[in-house]
Amino acid sequence: MTVRTLFIGMDGATFTVLNELTKPVSGEPVMPFLAKIFAGGSRAKLRSTPNPLTPPAWVSLMTGRGPGHHGIFDFIRAEERGDEVFFTLFDSRDCKVETIWSIASRQGLRIAALNFPFTAPPQKELNGFVVPGFIPWRHLRRNTHPEGIYDRLKAIPQFNAQELAWDFEQEKQSGDQLSDHDREAWVSYHLPREQQWFKVAEYLMREEAPDLMAVLFDGVDKLQHQAWQFVDPAYQTGELSPYHLRMRELSLSYFHQLDGFIEKLVTAAGPKVQVFFASDHGFTASTEIVRINAYLAEKGYVHWKPIPEGEAGKRRDNSYFAYLDWSKTTAYCRTPSCNGITIRVARAPGETGIAPSEYQAFRARLIRDLEDFKDSKTGERIIAEIHKREDVFPGAAMTNAPDLQLVLRDFGFVSVKNKLPSVEPRQYPVGTHHPDGVFMAYGPGIEAGKMLGRRNITDVSSTLLYSLGLPIPSDFEGAVPPNMFTAEYKAAHPIVIGAATESGGREVQTESMSDDEKANIMEQLKMLGYME
């Protein structure tokens, strides 16, 4: 048994940072092994999904399909029911198309998928191992596949499920404006956490050698959200405070440690294995707060509900979900992470919302109003791009997408709070998602030292299947990058387009969350920078 293909995900990794960390500054680079990968392999910018966000982007990477097909648009799915909106969490059962884990499994290959979001609950039919991401430690056992593997992992020396898993409580304690101390603690928290994932990956690769070994290190994203000003080369000039320098050193120690994990995994895989790296999106700085529902309220689309008195009112006031008067609201933003506008359409007589016959004209007026959202000093549009959903989310699941997808001028995430002004500068820049992530390949048959043209996130799954020697499903939207592999390799291993994917759709979830549940999830999102 040997690993055929190794895939290392790095959530939020961007060349803006990696290029700097692979250059020797005074002595060795921060990431010397990645520098070797750059020199000996191929790489390209990787264009993310229209909303460059963990849920739609990683699911597109795992399925080779856009969100309009797989149906995962956000962390949270909303259901409008009469004059109430219920919020539910997406999970793996909501993905309507087949994943590469399933495609490889049913063709007899074994997989290991570690820390990928929306792999829980795991499909029982998978041939291999799943330890899901975005699951609290108390639920890892039940969501780990196959049965029995969790106890084996617990036997790994220094294995600590609480360190490994998504820690809701840790994130709940942290606010959007972290104190210097808390920010430092947040970065430090991810050092041992990544080590846990590395240990699990190393163990499964050694003991089981699955054909496709895939592990996601998500600390890159989490660190960059809170510590962007310490890692972005653009913010390392001028007089830097001792705190800044300490935070930069701490952040770089994270990347140095990650480089060591990558080296060990690639070395353990052996010289015959092709290795691929990708991120779900890149990173950049967000410099302003855009309160989109406040702006929509100014324009008459959003109507706020009065906050009730007492404890319930306090909870409401602290909630991160818009508390709206659904009898009057016609268009609103549901969650900060969706960066989209939902138009409320009355689907039956007596329902609230606009009449279906008014939709086109209403949407056109809404677009004009959003285009008019401008910087009062410069006249520049706050919302750089406004996409109609049929243009960016074609597919059977499009009706679950926001009617309009927004791209802010600084790529930031919107705020849904009832607070004015509707746009104001941040106290300091925070990390936010940029549409360009990274895609890299290394190993036998891979072109050396090549920077390719920008690729699409759906190309990753095609490339991994090709590396495994499997046909590319005919309904995949992505392709194998033409210049990533050597001519000799491609001649010996022709790309084969095979049958379409099998149905990956599982039932649609209908549960709803309590206010506490919503608040808990929103705390996590806030920590990740999706909130003010």
Partner: protein
């Protein structure tokens, strides 16, 4: 009831929660087993996975427009049973 108890025991086996009484119909998820909201979501998912169907737990978790503060295993089991019976009757 046995299925719900078995799933809850399986779910909580690593939690280190000391429950004074044996887990049964009267056990409260939040008060006795320290379930948080996310734990309740995961329990709902585990039950749906066990029965390979969706149960629409919002009908159990919401009353008169508000979300219930706590839930006993007996209530949970009765809800699941009622859903299964309703499905059998309508199919």
């Amino acid at each position: 009831m046995a299925t719900v108890v078995a799933i809850v025991k399986d779910l909580t086996q690593d939690w280190g929660v000391d429950c004074a009484e044996p887990i049964g119909a009267d056990t409260l998820l939040a008060a006795n087993l320290q379930f948080t909201s996310v734990d309740i979501i995961q329990l709902c998912v585990a039950l749906e996975e066990c029965y390979d169907r969706r149960f629409g737990f919002q009908d159990l978790l919401m009353r008169d427009g508000s979300y219930v503060g706590d839930l006993s295993l007996g209530q949970l089991s009765a809800f699941v049973d009622a859903q299964l019976i309703r499905e059998e009757t309508t199919s």
